[in-house]
Amino acid sequence: MVEQVVQWFRKLFGGETSSSVAKDRLRLVLLSDHLALAPDVIEALRRDLLDVISRYVEVDEAHSDVSFEHKEAGIAMLASIPILAMRAREPQPEPAADAAEACSSAEETSILEAVSPNGRSDNYGRRPRKRRRRKASGASQTAPAQ
């Protein structure tokens, strides 16, 4: 009871305790350590990303890169994948084929989500949407159109 009151007052007067700062810093640095120690996982992630994206556009695999950046609030994954051209649109698929396609793409997504270093990472690496999009489109401008 007393503890709860103390907690409540602490919240009221604000201010982060040094132990919670320590905990947050540790969480981040360990995630970054785990990523650095798992090059095979990163490579598998890069391959899977390329596989998925290649279904829609032609990409420059040799110049693609997946990296991680330490940000203040977390760790962000940056995928730089130059796009060479759009894939030719396939003729309108049959309804059955369409369902199969949807199914297989769902599988790919789940594989991507399963790739987390040591199973310990949480929700980091979800932020860099903007940057990724900008990079990708920049690359596509310089790439020769088909």
Binding site: V2, E3, V6, F9, R10, F13, G15, E16, T17, S18, S19, S20, A22, K23, R25, L26, R27, V29, L30, D33, L37, N118, R120
Partner: protein, 297 residues
Amino acid sequence: METQRLAAESVEAAPLPEAPQAPAAQADSQPKTRGRAIVVTSGKGGVGKTTTTANVGIALAARGARVVLIDADVGLRNLDLVLGLESRVRYHLLDVLEGRAELDDALIRDKRVPTLWLLAAAQNREKDDVETAAVQALIERLREAYDYVIVDSPAGIEMGFKNAIAGADEAIVVCTPEVAAVRDVDRVVGLLGNRVDVKLVVNRIRPALVRKGKMLSVDDVNSILRLPLLGVLGDAPDVIVATNRGEPVALDENAPIGAAYRAIAARIAGEDVPAPAAPDEPAGFLEKLGSLFGGRR
């Protein structure tokens, strides 16, 4: 597990020092189950590995188990000093591994708890002088005659650490509530791999600081490490006093920290001791009042 056992068997034939059966094997005529090999490690230095090894070891022995402690911190021998056995060291680990001494002669038997033995580290040698396979073979042999073989690992993750963990299939990782210690334990746990059964001891907790938010709590530490918790030890002056005297605090019936070490020993032995709690240190009224009005946390 299986591959490790195979590896241990295959080195048996190779550079095994010629030493006679340990005294226990002669006394015991009936077939024994294999003893347990436990390494105490942490990555970071100065978190209490040696103190933990000494006290957990002597507490297990005081329960009647036959325990050998091996100081694997070659070049920085200290376990003998913490146990108060420094004046009785004649031969050390490398003397045994290199055939200059019989295992029997190198094992120092404790006089307070006669089921405890110590194999000291070499003081005048380096960690790289130790052959991993030979240590592994020695531990295998000791397991035939003793209930527990507990290895005090050096700090770091280099050769000395690798030698220390080679023969163990259980590990006690000692962590203090500091960022550097937690990070190093995480690394060490990664290196221990799935082969080793790892348990955590959180050492030097100061409940008053934890309550004020000035120190990581046991839950904070273990929300990051996510290891089975074997014990929680307070930052107790009794440990310092006991170490000064070379009298392991685990034998002190009056010290709360001694009881905490004995509880760890009981858990290792498989006893269902209640979940380890943070040491009790009730907050005073002034402390509670003070914490309401801030200050550096």
